[in-house]
Symmetry: C2
Subunit: 114 residues, 2 copies
DNA sequence: TTACAATATATAAGATACTTAAATATACTG
DNA sequence: CAGTATATTTAAGTATCTTATATATTGTAA
């Protein structure tokens, strides 16, 4: 499991990317999906996830639809038009961030096959 | 410039990696180096950097040597033996983190050349 | 049948890490 | 002589996350 310090700050982008990829998802499903994709290395806590979802909704980046499934409430989140453009920005930023980290962690990548 | 939210949590690892790479560095030099390596995309603020350096010193991960250069104090930081093993751990974690992010941001990387 | 695990969301209290801003001081450049 | 670069420090505030707890249903194993 990866130190939670590292994950801080990436949560919003992760959530938005998953919603773009999967159309609509509910909170619990998002935590499952992240665990699945990262082979258990990243686990989102509900105390972090739900407040982020609520905040993104209040910012009109996400909209919700409540549904009943087996007597359990499921609150599906999906991107608004504004949300779609936010994802584009966030992913661009994430990509630059990863590239920057790699330049620090692995300087002179061009020499790997030299 | 990358949103500071993303960088949060990576600061410690970045500092430790640079010190491993360069032997010893002073605070100001670290901010310059990060800017240089990331082409200005990551800028460390002094308010974040110096407290981290002090903390790492108190944890015996770093040691300091104060020197005088042109009437300016320079406090050089370098890794302790403990620091070297901390870097190894932190870099492993960082690598897993980057890989995990890529699995989310860019699912099915194996298909890129398929 | 009872207890535990999984599903599903919510939120309060506390910790921590970072931003912003200001302070201090010297050297160099136009 | 004003502004930029060098160099470190630290206080106050904010944001974000962790931890813990609450609630409720369904499925499973003993």
């Amino acid at each position: 499991m990866i130190s939670t310090d590292l994950i801080k700050g990436s949560l919003k982008t992760i959530v938005l990317k998953l919603l773009e990829e999967n159309g609509r998802m509910y909170g619990y499903e998002i935590t499952r999906k992240v665990e699945e994709l990262t082979e258990g290395k990243i686990k989102l806590t509900y105390g972090a996830l739900y407040p982020v979802l609520h905040k993104l909704e209040s910012e009109e980046v996400l909209v919700t639809e409540s549904e009943n499934f087996n007597n359990r409430i499921r609150i599906y989140y999906s991107l608004t038009p504004k949300g779609h453009s936010v994802v584009v920005e966030k992913l661009k930023e994430m990509k630059e961030f990863i590239e920057s980290l790699e330049k620090i962690v692995n300087p002179q990548p061009g020499l790997r096959y030299a």
